[in-house]
């Protein structure tokens, strides 16, 4: 089958001055095959992907191993030959299309740049090629689409234009580097289906890189699991998904959930009652007539795509963005729209955790200062009593007490988010508002944070309003779910009911768009889906 072998990388090692990025990695891709590469951030996925066309970020270099693309050993080639290889044999599709297109040129000029350099085709022929690809990728108004500049089209369209750009030189290998990570789930489906179609009709090989196992399982024939620059496990997709061998792969599969719902038993007593709230920035209403209820000791997931208004609603509950109309009640009392007008106890009982722990922690305060402040502010704790409580809190978030003297910069993302949780626990709140608190974290870190929250609900008697765009997470973690679309609540009920008998079309399309490990899930989408 060596005639069909497109890429083979053998025992590749890539180093920087201070560390090893890839260690003894071997992969191969045959014609008509999609190889999936999965791993967390820092696993070396992108380094591996770019090394297949002999590109390395500055400061990195390959120290041993070999890279063979279409029968040519890239390690031995000079710059000019490598550039020719990249122009003719391989294409790369990057994660953020918005940043990967040059803002200075019209889309068609960028898409047809390589044929234009070859000077074999007339400009009319090149345009026709581009238009055909735009048509194939179902871009609107394909004849004129290419006349636009990158900033004039949407993210999903830009991503498809980048796939068109990758196809124009009829490559033998296409590298997809997290091509849908920046997209909403419903947009993601369309792009995934197009990629799948393109990979099979254009008779090339493909590398598909993602941190999302479900997505990779739909796209790839074989999967390689990477961690810390090493290959942990590899195998045909079904085999790896159904019978993972290593502990790490098992955890990645388990993270996808088995479709079972959270076993949190919240009471039906309403703790927080939001009624008919409107919130707006200037003349635009970001939230319209929204009503949600959070029961004591339970988790309410507020789900929706970016721009649906879920964060705005959460901020209005916290009193950061005042509701223009409507009412927010906590137990018997009505909360003032602005936090500045709420009482000491009201401020204490609702705690808000932000999405990005990097921004939520002051880089110049030690963890002791960060967590200690609410202790002294709300509870007047000082000295030994405060120290005692600080240690309890560090225990609760499963970090060593020695971390109290550290600064945020020396903590990992997951640890920082734990510190933010400790800071809100220090107030002894009733309600935690968690605004996408795991969306910047790797899947397994997300899992551990969710586990921590589940335990805290029982231990500390918390109720949680959990804002997320991740429906799978809502299903596993929440007791009730509310779905937001364009500022309105379109669905609100028990999580099981919402997922099993969704009422609105939007919820149905959202649920269907959540990538699954199940074989044939993506192929099951008809053309009119989403």
């Amino acid at each position: 089958m060596s005639g069909n072998r497109i890429l083979s990388i053998d025992n590749l090692r890539v180093e920087t001055r201070t560390g090893v990025l890839l260690d003894d990695v071997s992969i191969h891709v045959d014609r008509g095959e999609v190889l999936g590469i999965i791993g967390e951030s820092g696993a070396g996925k992108s380094t591996l992907a770019l090394s297949s066309i002999m590109l390395f970020k500055s400061g990195c270099r390959p120290t041993s191993g070999s890279i063979t693309l279409c029968g040519q050993s890239l390690m031995e080639l000079g710059t000019t030959e490598l550039e020719t290889i990249r122009r003719t044999k391989a294409s790369y599709v990057a994660q953020s299309a918005a940043a990967a297109f040059n803002p200075f040129y019209r889309l068609e000029d960028q898409v047809t740049e390589i044929p234009a350099m070859a000077q074999k085709l007339t400009s009319a022929q090149r345009r026709r090629m581009a238009v055909e690809l735009f048509e194939e990728l179902q871009l609107p108004d394909p004849k004129n689409f290419g006349r636009r500049y990158p900033h004039q089209v949407s993210g999903g369209q830009l991503q498809r234009a980048m796939i068109a750009m990758a196809l124009i030189n009829q490559p033998d290998l296409i590298i997809f580097d997290e091509p849908t990570t920046a997209l909403d789930v419903t947009t993601q489906i369309e792009v995934l289906r197009l990629i799948k179609k393109v990979a099979s009709t254009h008779n090339c090989g493909a590398l598909y890189i993602s941190h999302d196992l479900a997505v990779v399982s739909q796209m790839a024939d074989r999967i390689i699991v990477m961690r810390n620059g090493k290959m942990v496990e590899q195998g045909p997709t079904r085999q790896l998904v159904d019978h993972p061998q290593t502990e790490y792969a098992k955890r990645l599969v388990a993270h996808q959930g088995d479709g079972s719902y959270a076993s949190i038993d919240g009471s039906d007593a309403t703790l927080l009652d939001v009624r008919n709230v409107d919130v707006g920035y200037g003349g635009v209403a970001a939230v319209k007539d929204a009503s949600i209820r959070l029961g004591a000791g339970s988790v309410l997931a507020l789900v929706g795509e970016s721009g649906s208004g879920k964060t705005t609603l959460a901020r209005s509950i916290a009193g950061l963005q005042p509701a223009r109309t409507g009412e927010i009640r906590m137990r018997e009392s009505v909360l003032a729209p602005l936090v500045e007008r709420r009482s000491f106890d009201q401020r204490r009982l609702i705690q808000y955790i932000h999405q990005l722990p990097d921004l939520a922690l002051n880089p110049r305060q030690s963890i002791r200062d960060v967590v200690g402040r609410p202790l002294s502010y709300f509870h007047g704790l000082r000295g030994a009593a405060a120290e005692q409580r600080l240690r309890e809190l560090m225990d609760a978030i499963e970090l060593p007490a020695a971390y109290l003297d550290r600064y945020p910069a020396s903590l990992s993302g997951g640890q920082k988010q734990r510190v933010c949780i400790a800071r809100s626990l220090a107030a002894k709140p009733d309600i935690l508002i968690c605004d996408e608190i795991t969306s910047a974290l790797d899947p397994l870190v997300e899992e551990s944070i969710v586990k921590l929250l589940t335990r805290l609900i029982k231990d500390e008697g918390l109720s949680i309003l959990f804002i997320t765009h991740n429906l799978g997470l809502a299903l596993r973690f929440s007791h009730k779910t509310a779905v937001m679309q364009a500022g309105r609540i379109v669905e609100h009920g028990d999580t099981r009911a919402v997922f099993e008998q969704p009422q609105s079309d939007y919820t149905k399309s959202l649920i269907r768009a959540v990538p699954q490990l199940r074989e044939g899930w993506l192929d099951g989408f008809s053309a009119n889906a989403a």
Partner: protein
Amino acid sequence: MSSKLTLTVSLAVLATMAAAAILAPVLAPFPPNEMVHAAFDAPGVGGVLGADGLGRDMLSRILYATRYTFVATLIATTLACMIGVSLAIIAGLSKGWADIIIGRAVDILMSIPQIIFALIILAIAGVSLTTLILTMAVLQSSTYYRVTRPIAGDLAAMEYVEVGRLRGERLHWYLFKEILPNMVPSLLAQFGLGLSSAALFISSLSFLGIGIQPPAADLGGLVRENALALSTGRLTPLIPAFCIALFCLSVNGIVDWLVGRFSDKPDVK
């Protein structure tokens, strides 16, 4: 040159110059304004560095001039920094009319070339050390405002400041615990840059004859007094100008080190 070495050399140069400025009355071999030599005495003949056109001792005049330049630069920069930072914090936290008015005023101030503005003010108010320092302070405060205002705005919009707001913290907490500590690195760097640009600016004004007035002279003024002596083929008239350059070079060296240190390790306290 490695940044550590640059830092050491810069600090040594600055310390020497500061010592010269402070100890000028002790170190100066002659009174600065008295004619103790013959006019244009060569170095070594009349005094270590020779004499100026009036027979005054160059070394003594340079020591005193360093003093004037140091004092004017330090006071003007400190004032400018205080004015600029206070206005920026007020604007950043208020975000209302105060922000708009201060912002517009600074825009206008910055749209007029500084040296032209200073010339006009000094023409109207008359030339004196106080006017010079105050004019400098006002003009340079716009730079501090421009650097600090976005930081103050960003910081006020930072999630950790929002956490304080949710808790119900008061103004002094934001200022002293959340905002100022995070501003210190960029402020220090700006202060350094401000010192060297103030030194250059004051020297230029004095060089033009509208800074510190004779018989007293700062480093720029000394160049003005002695420039004609260049035609004798000696470089001594430019020694004061070299002192200014050395001062700015050292300050910039320290700033580079500061910027490097804080951008590498945000965890330093």
